[in-house]
Amino acid sequence: MTKRILTSSFLLLLTLTWAPSLAVAQSIHSTIQRVQQRTVKVFGAGGIRRLHAYSTGFVVSRQGHVATVWSHVLDTDELTVVLADGRKVRAKVLGAEPQLDLAVLELQDKELDLPAWDLEADVSDAGPGTRVLGFSNMFKVATGDEMVSVLHGVVAAKAPLATRRGAFESSYEGTAFIVDAVTNNPGAGGGVLTTRAGRLLGMIGKELRNVESNTWVNYAVPISELKQPIQEIIAGKYRARQRDPDETNAVARYRPLEFGIVLLPDVLFRTPAFIDGVQPGSAAARAGLQPDDLILFINGDLVQSCRVFKQRLGRIDSGGVLKLTVRRGDKLVPVELPVPEKPEKPEKPATAGDKK
């Protein structure tokens, strides 16, 4: 008896839900279109090795301000933004907050009247289980007036990104939406995460890999973190956040120049730690280091980039020996350099020569 009631009420529900589910199906298409019209493709620096020269952005003002991810792509004077309708517009970086991985671009065309996100009205928040859509220019699949890619997924967690040097290396360390879809692909950074109703949740972050487990995390920075900086950058009254002074000091105990090592200019997110020059008569010169040597290990730790090398070097113990392994041509060459004695609390560095 119960079973029959169950069945019949289920059938009743089926018929009742039929028409409204059609309405839902229609609205998802218009939702997607609406978001796609507010998403742009960003083309800039890169294109060598595995560094992509493209990323994504979203329009945050009708006059043509675009929020995007802060990355090597923006490191050029030839920044181009392709609007959803296929128009190509030159852009320049108006301001950035590297700690949030955020940059705001200003499009160099004053006549634009673009469909834009309203960061007050179009925004929402979400917890675990919320079904979401991710929009981005991943893999540069879309060109010209082709619409950016859409992925579907579920928010798995809203939690702080547990970044760690050598493991999850990310400049953003705040709360993030963790998503079960592969949203963070090459070029996807700066795209948007929305609810299925098209409310803005966050900005898709960079590709983030745990080097130890070779696993990838797909995350987005909540719009609540970005809203104020975006608005302040547009208004021209934004001041970048200060890094923790202790960390700055710790990093600066030893610098490459003190050993006579001149590194390649650190212009990319992950510039390989190539030696650009060796100062004559320096410890580096005595140890036999040469220009074009690629530093691979420092005291047995892997060096992924100029930045990592500088950070590791900054933390080595006073006195003792600095062990480096460099790649020269096809060979691995180990070298040892004496480390000069230094007090535990060093003075604040006077030069900005190692600025990131």
């Binding site: 009631i5 009742l16 595995r50 991943m138 010209g144």
Partner: protein
């Protein structure tokens, strides 16, 4: 748990019912949103219905495998070319009934990465229904089915579910001649072994063949961007594939680029191409192609990429204020050797999608089955010539109703007037073809290895074409060096779908057009040599003369213009006299 966003109307109605039901039943029974249950029930139903059409393909040598999908009850199934490439001519295929079937290769499209195979041993195979992939929208739900990682030992397909992420995507060739044009981008999970498997719409219509994904740093597993070849593209190639041939894609003979203002313009053109002969030049702006407007280079490539070589497509271009509309036959994209050989060496892979590699795992080992050996015939340029022989028989079966022309070896004399009112007499004999028309006499010699001439001038070689016609009717296959079934295409670019037979004699290549349903010969195009305008001959009407059926009107055009429309009044056969 919030699983659906609904409009208030739906919510209020559904809640009303839930409240009513809750009054009678324990609340735990309706903890799940009924819309979710309904959607789930539908997914389960569609997935289990579709699973029977999904094929797990194993190579004969047992080195790998992929997936496929049955599309007809007599066993035709679609898969990726890159799945069959290493699989040999005979394969073993598993279906969800747990049984292993023999299958044979039918036709391949190495550029489009499609292969047609035929499963053997039944005439009641469960099969999928072809959908219309142009109806897909971004955000639509899709099912992908297949055998990723060769997981299923009982051949029950793995089902993944996701959305359409993008449409009309163009994916560059990836180190080989494989090129995905106008394809469907999905976030539905596609992994090694899924290659060649079906992409279904939420309603269970076959929308595409999965075969490729974008991978970069994360290894060759799903990275959120998979690509399926659209079923609408495959439909254009279907009869070509059934012909047992190695089919080719097309090029216009011109390349395009995007101008600063966004217009798509010609930046290179082959002097010998038909496009050039119809007036297309460097710098001309492409307005539309194949009936679709062109706004980007990718769009142009997308349009071009879905058609087999030899199709006629309308092209609209603009130079200054002058707009030109023309109909062009597409050229072959590759040389024959490029299609049958290994992947082109020295071509750098472009970024973007790459074909899913076939999964490597130990499958059942099979020998070429003795009882099906006759279903494979080897021939250069064909994947399996056996199927071409079958299609030739089918297409030519309608010819018998024209009457017996095998005895019509004497000279043919056709007399009448053109539509313009000029009297003509056409004589077609073994030694030559003669036409007297508008106070002039034209002659094409056929003896002494005479060259085919463009007589009358600008007709594309009407006289030689008439010789081809007589040979075709009187001698069929014996009159030509090459004789094969090509596939089907729309007559003159936009007309009815017609079956096409190809004949070659020396340098002269003819395309013979047959009504797909009744097998009537509708006409033919004769080309004296490559890169020249064809003589296009179209037949209509019917004259019964001595038990043989002749066309009442022979309309001849060439180079985009009408030559003449010859009305036939009398036909005389000079039996026995070769003069």
């Amino acid at each position: 748990m919030r699983l659906f966003e609904r409009d208030w109307l739906f919510r209020s109605r559904a809640w009303l019912v839930v409240v009513v039901v809750l009054a009678v039943l324990p609340p735990a029974s309706f903890a799940v949103d009924p819309a979710v249950l309904a959607a789930e029930a539908k997914r389960v139903e569609v997935a289990s219905r579709l699973a029977t059409s999904v094929v797990a393909i194993f190579s004969r040598g047992g080195r790998g495998g992929g997936s496929g999908v049955l599309i007809s009850s007599d066993g035709y199934a679609l898969t990726n070319f890159h799945v069959t490439r290493g699989a040999g001519t005979f394969m073993k295929c598993g279906l969800s009934d747990g049984k292993l079937y023999d299958a044979v290769i039918v036709g391949i499209d190495p550029t489009g990465d499609v292969a047609l195979i035929k499963l053997l041993g039944r005439d009641d195979f469960p099969h999928a229904t072809l959908g219309d992939s142009d109806t897909l929208k971004v955000g639509d739900w899709t099912f992908a089915m297949g055998n990723p990682f060769l997981l299923a030992t009982d051949f029950q397909p793995t089902v993944t579910y996701g959305i359409v992420s993008g449409l009309h995507r163009y994916q560059y060739p990836a180190g080989t001649i494989l090129e995905y044009t106008d394809c469907i981008q999905i976030d539905t999970s596609i992994n090694p072994g899924n290659s060649g498997g079906p992409l279904f719409s939420a309603n269970g219509q076959l929308m595409g063949i999965n075969g490729r994904g974008s991978f970069e740093k994360r290894g060759r597993v799903n990275s959120g961007a998979g690509y399926a070849i659209s079923i609408n593209q495959i439909k254009l190639f279907m009869d070509h594939l059934r012909s047992g041939r190695v089919v080719d894609h097309a090029t216009l003979g011109a390349t395009v680029t995007t101008r600063e203002d966004g217009a798509v313009v010609v930046d290179g053109i082959l002097d010998e191409s038909e496009a050039y002969r119809r007036g297309l030049r460097e710098g001309d702006e492409i307005i539309s192609f194949g009936g679709r407007s062109v706004r980007s280079v990718n769009q142009f490539k997308n349009i071009l990429g879905i058609y087999p070589k030899g199709w006629k497509l309308p092209l609209v271009f603009r130079r200054g204020q002058v707009r030109t509309e023309t109909l062009l036959r597409l050229r072959a994209l590759h040389r024959a050797s490029e299609l049958t050989g290994s992947p082109r060496p020295g071509r750098r892979p472009r970024p973007g999608g790459k074909p899913m590699p076939p999964a490597r795992k130990r499958p059942p080992v099979a020998k070429p089955p003795e009882k099906y050996k006759h279903l494979y015939v080897k021939k250069q340029g064909f994947a399996n010539y056996y199927f071409n022989q079958q299609e030739q028989k089918r297409v030519l079966s309608g010819m018998s109703r024209l009457g017996d022309f095998t005895g019509a070896k004497g000279a043919w004399v056709l007399v009448g007037k053109t539509a313009a009112g000029d009297a003509y007499q056409l004589t077609v004999a073994d030694v030559g073809v003669g036409l007297s028309w508008k106070q002039k006499v034209y002659f094409q010699e056929l003896k002494n290895a005479a060259e085919p001439l463009d007589e009358p001038k600008g007709s594309g070689g009407l006289l030689y074409a008439m010789h081809m016609w007589r040979s075709f009717l009187a001698k069929r296959k014996k009159g030509f060096g090459e004789f094969f079934y090509l596939g089907s295409e729309p007559l003159d670019g936009a007309g009815v779908r017609v079956d096409v037979l190809i004949t070659e004699l020396g340098n002269v290549r003819c395309r013979w057009y047959f009504d797909c349903k009744q097998g009537r010969l509708l006409g033919f195009d004769s080309q004296r040599e490559e890169e020249t305008d064809e003589c296009e001959v179209r037949f209509s009407g019917d004259i019964d003369s001595g038990g043989r059926h002749w066309p009442k009107t022979i309309r001849v055009s060439s180079g985009g213009g009408l030559v003449a429309s010859f009305e036939v009044e009398t036909v005389t056969l000079k039996v026995g006299a070769a003069q």
